[in-house]
């Protein structure tokens, strides 16, 4: 009878271990604490494992909307020094039945960031083999930043072009006015004298073709 009682006491954990080891519905988990945290790395011990099991139970609760999952539903085995192990989730109604792989996967994916944060790790350092990480959504800008910078530069260039062109135009206008002003002064002087010759101003005289010297045809 003692043997029977002992068997009854030790059977569940043995069975549990078998459930975990042999099942197809388990996932391998791998933690790289030293890689992720460097000097702030914590020691992996039973308490950390307890935290892990409880976070997984929390994930199952959220996914299935049943508040019946407890830490005993999460079974762990194949512990290694690497800090990697396999876990399975048992059903709340029947401790011998395992929750199928797909359900567990969905639960983990939904709550991955909460599980990561509980351990201060990331998708790279807390891996669930077989569950691809859901990558964060790309940042969508209302206006692309490069268009803003482009607009600023083009605006500055446009201002520069307009300023330079206007300064050229105003310089030319000033030069014209100066030239017009000088020639007005000349006419004034000529008018004072009033003689015909001086009215020619700065011209070199009138070209009289009869007395021209550069006849092309006299090169005999």
């Amino acid at each position: 009878m003692l043997a029977g009682v002992l068997l009854l006491i030790f059977l569940p954990p043995l069975v549990a271990k078998d459930l975990c080891k042999d099942s197809q519905d388990g996932f391998k988990v791998r933690l790289s604490i030293k890689t992720g945290l460097g000097d702030d790395a914590y020691e992996w011990n039973e308490s950390e494992m307890f935290l892990f099991r409880s976070t997984l139970a929390y994930a199952m609760r959220k996914h299935s909307n049943q508040d019946t999952y407890t830490i005993d539903n999460i079974l762990v085995c194949n512990d290694t020094q690497r800090v990697s192990f396999v876990f399975v989730v048992t059903s709340t109604d029947d401790p011998d039945q395992l929750i199928p792989k797909e359900q567990v996967e969905l639960a983990v994916r939904q709550n991955k960031h909460r599980i990561n944060n509980a351990f201060l790790l990331s998708d790279m350092t807390l891996e669930f083999m077989g569950i691809p990480p859901t990558l964060s959504a790309p940042i969508i800008y209302d206006t692309e930043p490069w268009l803003i910078v482009f607009g600023v530069v083009i605006g500055a260039v446009a201002v520069g072009i307009v300023a330079l062109l206007m300064s050229t135009v105003s310089k030319k206008r000033r030069a014209k006015e100066k030239a017009a002003g000088l020639s007005e002064e000349d006419e004034g002087i000529v008018k004072e004298n009033g003689t015909a010759l001086s009215s020619l101003g700065r011209k070199e005289g009138v070209y009289n073709q009869a007395f021209s010297n550069d006849d092309r045809f006299t090169k005999l």
Binding site: S32, Q81, R82, S84, I154, V157, I161
Partner: protein, 634 residues
């Protein structure tokens, strides 16, 4: 020593201003030609023209691939024997004849106008593709104002389970360059249409250039205070940043480790000569133009030596900076590779973390190999070789837009370094473009093709608009391949031909004796034996040798190019593909037309003169005939 060999050149004295006329011009300052505000503007403009993107991304690569420190020897020798004499020649002839490139060659002999036209064509073609590179630089610059930088991580695919496959197979920087920037097609025939974002950047680049060149050297003279000095400031900042990063010293050591055997390789000397030549921006006509705005008695000999030294030192300085950053990147890659392998080992053998470190890695590998060789083979660990990572230092656009941008993403405060780096590249490129525009606009004015009374703003604006429209070729998806084509053929052989013609024209057509006298008038003393020997023999011979070698290698090699093809077997390595057959026509247009315009214009002019002489003779005969008949009547 008077030169006996001199080609006949009648009428030279009528075409050029005499010394007395130059003195008068100097005293009265009556010339219509623009002038530099001060010597510093002139020096900065010339330094800016010479120091360009090639100093940053071609010289360091050549240095590292041709034996490191040993490359300095052919580089410095050829700098002294080839670069400085040609530079002095261009400065002196511009200062003496006081015209742009077409004007100078027309003054020396009207049959040489082709040299000026060739310079103008080459300046135009090179300017077109060079500014497209600046457009790419601007694109990266605009995209640097965000954190994280867009080339630091792969974009996520539709169902957010992984990254886009093209990016996953290559790398985020490759993906951003080939897909997001260029949107490149697998072959050059596949045009792929215009990429609107690069069109905008190209428009920005040309308008920026126009605003700086609007009134010729009046505006560029002010712009160069910033564009020529900023690169040095940024290089220094990067040097300080680089030296504080891990692994930078290994990069510098790798750069300068001398391999004296490379000196026996002729291609080392050839590459050194070509680099010196292209680095000095000779034969574009821009330097002649810039020098013609100087006062007559400016010491051009001193200027040439100073600018050559600055150019050489800048190349070496830039190489140090670039390789310190490449060393950092190689070390990061090596560490990542090693850590990846260590992780694989730990995962396979379920060892606790920290069991294998970088130092115990090799020992552990050997232990594994001896105990469980089968498992070890299956692991497929990557080979992590520091030398491979260091020699991945590529050249050209690959260096700036792939290797360097990757290094920047690994530095803290990446957007700041990215902004600084691309501003530096922008300034380097823009100051070179000033010289290119000068080399196009001034000959255009000298050729009297357009009305003379049009203001300078119209000339520069027209050049910019026409160049922008033709440069849209480089904005298509296949644009990168077109650019490589232009770079390889339009900017190489024609320049060598033009430079050779320049030096022969000045020494043998203008006359080295007259040239020596001019220099004595301008500078105060006759050029010494070094200049005589290099101008008469050494520099032309070196140019001829480089030209022949270049020509032979270009003609004999297979016409292939490298493409980015996501469907190829070796992806992400670039695939080598043959050019289509019609490319030879394009190559002939690019390289042949400028080179052939030199004899072509001479022949056309000779024919025209012959025809007009015949016409004159006929006219004279008919007139004298008429006069005889008049006399008989009278």
């Amino acid at each position: 020593m008077k030169l006996k060999l001199k080609l006949p050149n009648p009428g030279l004295d009528e075409r050029i201003p005499s010394h007395a006329e130059l003195e008068k011009l100097e005293l009265e300052e009556a010339g219509e030609r623009p002038q530099w505000d001060n010597k510093a503007q002139y020096m900065l403009t010339c330094v800016g023209f010479c120091v360009g993107l090639g100093n940053v991304w071609r010289f360091p690569y050549l240095c590292q691939s041709h034996g490191g420190g040993a490359f300095m020897i052919p580089f410095l020798i050829l700098l002294v024997l080839e670069g400085i004499p040609l530079l002095h020649l261009e400065f002196a002839i511009g200062q003496r004849l006081r015209k742009g490139s077409v004007g100078v060659w027309r003054s020396i002999n009207p049959y040489l106008v082709g040299v000026g036209i060739a310079s103008m064509l080459v300046s135009f073609m090179v300017g077109m593709y060079y500014n497209t590179i600046i457009a790419w630089v601007l694109w990266y610059f605009f995209n640097s104002f965000q954190d994280p930088l867009p080339w630091s991580q792969c974009p996520v695919n539709e169902n957010r389970t992984g990254f886009v496959s093209e990016c996953e197979d290559s790398s985020p920087v490759d993906y951003f360059w080939y897909r997001k920037t260029l949107n490149t097609t697998p072959v050059i025939e596949d045009s792929g249409g215009l990429q609107w974002w690069i069109v905008l950047c190209l428009f920005c680049a040309w308008t920026l250039l126009w605003v700086c060149c609007l009134r010729g050297i009046e505006t560029t003279g002010k712009a160069v205070y910033v564009t020529s000095t900023l690169p040095y400031l940024v290089l220094t900042i990067f040097l300080i940043r680089g030296l504080t990063l891990k692994g930078s010293v290994s990069g510098i050591k790798f750069l300068f480790t001398p391999d004296l055997d490379e000196l026996l390789n002729p291609s080392t000397w050839l590459d050194a000569g070509a680099q010196v030549f292209y680095s000095f921006s000779l034969a574009f006509g821009g330097l002649i133009s810039f020098s013609s705005y100087n006062s007559v008695h400016n010491n051009c000999e001193q200027d040439a030596v100073i600018i050559s030294i600055i150019n050489g030192l800048t190349s070496i300085y830039a190489a140090i900076v670039i390789y310190s950053i490449i060393g950092f990147r190689a070390t990061e890659r090596f560490d990542d590779c090693l850590n990846g392998n260590i992780l694989t080992l730990m995962n396979t053998f379920d060892l606790p973390e920290g069991n294998i470190t970088e130092s115990s890695y090799d020992g552990f590998l050997q232990h594994l190999n001896s105990t469980v060789p089968a498992v070890f083979q299956d692991l497929q660990l990557k080979t992590c070789d520091m030398q491979t990572f260091l020699s991945q230092g590529v050249e050209g656009t690959g260096l700036a837009f792939i290797v360097f941008t990757e290094a920047i993403t690994k530095m803290p405060i990446s957007p700041l370094w990215s902004v600084l780096f691309f501003i530096m590249l922008f300034c380097l490129g823009l100051s070179t473009m000033f010289g290119n525009i000068e080399g196009v606009v001034v000959p255009l004015q000298d050729l009297n093709l357009l009305p003379k009374k049009w203001p300078k703003e119209v000339f520069t604006g027209l050049t910019c608009v026409v160049s922008f429209v033709t440069a849209l070729v480089f904005v298509q998806s296949s644009g990168n391949y077109w650019l490589a084509l232009f770079d390889g053929f339009a900017g190489s052989i024609p320049l060598l031909v033009i430079a050779l013609c320049e030096i022969i024209a000045v020494v043998y057509v203008y006359g080295i004796d007259r040239f020596n006298n001019d220099l004595q008038f301008m500078v105060g003393h006759k050029p010494n034996i070094f200049w005589q020997v290099t101008w008469r023999f050494l520099s032309p011979i070196i140019l001829l040798v480089i030209l022949i070698f270049y020509f032979v290698t270009t003609v004999s090699k297979q016409l292939t190019y490298n493409v980015w093809d996501p469907d190829s077997d070796n992806f992400p390595t670039l695939k080598e593909v043959n050019y289509p057959s019609w490319i030879s026509g394009i190559i002939f247009i690019l390289a042949g037309i400028p080179s052939l315009s030199i004899p072509g214009v001479a022949i056309i002019r000779a024919l025209w003169k012959h025809c007009s002489k015949d016409k004159e003779k006929n006219d004279e005969r008919s007139i004298s005939g008429k006069e005889a008949s008049l006399n008989t009547i009278a």
